[in-house]
């Protein structure tokens, strides 16, 4: 290419254009990062300011690192229980969706059998449905079975949200582990279960952990079903939603921060697997 662009002005023009392009790119990256990060920062500033500062005007751009808002939030009636419920429901969702989803993902990656496409269709179909609406009929079903207003009941709804992801992620995980490894283990005298446990599992574990974290995040963040299905045992999202009209600003912002900060950590933990989750959505 350089030989063709021998004449100097053209080369200089090319060069300045490239530099302009690179500058533009850099500016766009900075701008977009600010677009994502600044709003979160502002919420954190509010959460780390005293209640008076939060309701006061004008606002300062730096937090005063006053724990007034946060301690008010933590000590507010019902918050501690809501936090605990959120964790409990999310943990149950995690266990359910991996426990049910991972075997299905393994079956899809290792076997060819009649009905495989039908199952894949069933899983993909869940995406075309507004799943939180499931909470309406399930509310009735749960009252009949005694599951209403329990963490287990809500975890079941959240599992329908998380299960398709668990199946698809584990499917792509197991597909990435050569079948030959398993076969080699069989020839060396392992049973199918032993081969899976000793050869496949260690390789798949980080990915399974990531999809577990993702399932946890889905449940942790869900609002509609949580608000419909829980009354006494409200999760943090349900609690915040139902107290929107009555709670002071500093409670809202401290609550918002309590929702956001764990989510930041979760996404950081699974960042390597984001593509396994969504890349396969293309097929």
């Amino acid at each position: 290419m350089t030989a063709i662009l021998a004449d100097a002005p053209a080369a200089a023009r090319w060069d300045s254009r490239r530099r302009a392009g690179r500058f533009l790119m850099f500016a766009a990256i900075v701008l977009l990062c600010a677009w994502v990060l600044l709003p979160i920062y502002l919420l954190i500033v509010n959460a780390l300011s005293s209640p008076n500062e939060v309701t006061g005007f004008p606002k300062r751009m730096l937090p005063s690192f006053d724990t007034g808002s946060i301690s008010f939030f933590i000590n507010f009636a019902g918050v501690a229980k809501a936090l605990w419920n959120s964790i409990l429901v999310a943990a149950l969702t995690m266990v359910l969706s991996i426990g049910i989803g991972a075997p299905a993902g393994y079956a899809l990656s290792r076997f060819d059998f009649p009905g495989k496409e039908a199952f894949r269709f069933l899983v993909l179909m869940t995406r075309a449905f507004p799943l939180p609406l499931l909470a309406l009929p399930l509310a009735v079903m749960f009252i009949r079975t005694g599951l209403d207003d329990t963490p287990v009941g809500l975890a079941i709804v959240h599992t329908t949200l998380a299960l398709p992801f668990a199946v698809l992620i584990t499917f792509s995980l197991f597909s990435g582990i050569p079948f030959e490894l398993e076969e080699a283990a069989w020839t060396l005298g392992c049973t199918r279960l032993q081969a899976f446990w000793k050869v496949v599992m260690p390789l798949a574990l980080p990915g399974i952990a990531a999809s577990a974290v993702f399932a946890f995040t889905i449940s942790w963040n869900e609002v509609f079903a949580a608000a419909v299905l829980t009354i006494e045992n409200r999760t943090l999202t349900a609690f915040l939603l139902q107290s929107l009209n009555v709670s002071p600003l500093y409670l809202k912002f401290a609550g918002g921060a309590a929702l956001v900060v764990p989510a930041l950590i979760f996404i950081f933990a699974v960042r390597k697997y984001l593509f396994a989750m969504w890349g396969i959505a293309n097929r």
């Binding site: 079956a107 059998f113 507004p130 499931l134 956001v260 593509f275 890349g279 959505a281 293309n282």
Partner: protein, 282 residues
């Protein structure tokens, strides 16, 4: 051998059973609830829903939000994805930052933008500080529907662009680099390469991203609740209102059916509009 023939079905059984009991069956239930009242089949629930004074505003708010939000997100997601797939150093960090909103609850996103838009919030601080406004403006009051709408649009674009971005980045990774390079050799500008090479080849991912996003757009709920309360009624919010405040499960079910019908309608539309011709499939 017979064991290994049964094995895949044994492995799939729990997931299939779970989805049938907690996904397919409940949708049958809610459909049934929507078309019955006190045990008799009727359209009364839909009529009650449609004749309520709030319904037209609810319906059009939701539609308008989707129409405004989704194209904005598409452009932003394409920009972000192009940047991520072109940048050489720091790709991981940029991708992580762009993907952060993916893990943030819609309620939290609403609260985040509440911190900016509320009357003593940051936007007013800046406006007064710059001398644009003399005193704090009330952006989220019941009389300012337009600024509530703008705030909801911003919060939605901020929150849910990441999901499209990740799908598009994955899709761009599947496009062989040679195509773009060949176009460059023939003198195609960067913009031409994007519109004539990348976009057509990106169609399957675009389809996935748009369908997913449109469905989520009709589920908009907590962002609106946090920013507008009941001043900007949307379909999901009204569903919740009928279920809880008005204690009328049947009308709530009718709302659910409406949301479902709109979602399926748009899914089918985009499946058709963005279909990949058979001869163009790899």
């Amino acid at each position: 051998m017979t064991r290994s023939k049964a094995l895949p079905y044994l492995l799939l059984a729990p997931a299939t059973l779970f989805l049938c009991v907690f996904f397919l069956y409940p949708f049958v239930l809610v459909a049934h609830e929507a078309v019955t009242r006190d045990g008799a089949y009727t359209f009364a629930n839909f009529r009650t829903m449609a004749e309520h004074w709030k319904f037209p505003a609810t319906f059009w708010n939701t539609m308008l939000l989707a129409i405004v939000v989704v194209p904005l997100q598409l452009v932003l997601a394409l920009t972000m994805a192009s940047i991520v797939s072109r940048v050489e150093s720091g790709r991981g960090a940029i991708l992580y930052i762009f993907a952060i909103p993916l893990g943030i609850s819609d309620l939290a996103a609403g609260l985040i933008w509440l911190a900016i838009f509320e009357q003593s919030g940051f936007l007013n601080t800046w406006l007064v500080g710059l001398g644009v406004a003399d005193q704090p403006v009330m952006f989220l009051g019941y009389q300012s529907k337009l600024s509530i709408f703008v705030a909801v649009v911003l919060a939605e674009v901020w929150r849910a662009t990441a999901i499209m971005m990740v799908i598009l980045v994955a899709g761009m990774g599947l496009i062989p680099k040679e195509y773009g390079e060949a176009a460059e050799v023939f003198g195609a500008s960067a913009w031409k390469r994007f519109t004539r090479v990348t976009l057509p080849l990106l169609r399957p991912s675009l389809q996935t991203a748009i369908i997913l996003r449109v469905i989520l757009a009709f589920e908009v709920f907590a962002v609106v609740a946090a920013l507008g309360g009941t001043n900007l009624p949307v379909l999901m919010g009204e569903t919740y209102h009928w279920q809880f405040a008005l204690q009328d499960r049947n009308v709530a079910a009718a709302y659910a059916m409406l949301i479902l019908a709109i979602s399926i309608g748009f899914t089918l539309f985009f499946l058709y509009a963005l279909r990949v011709p058979k001869e163009a499939r790899p």
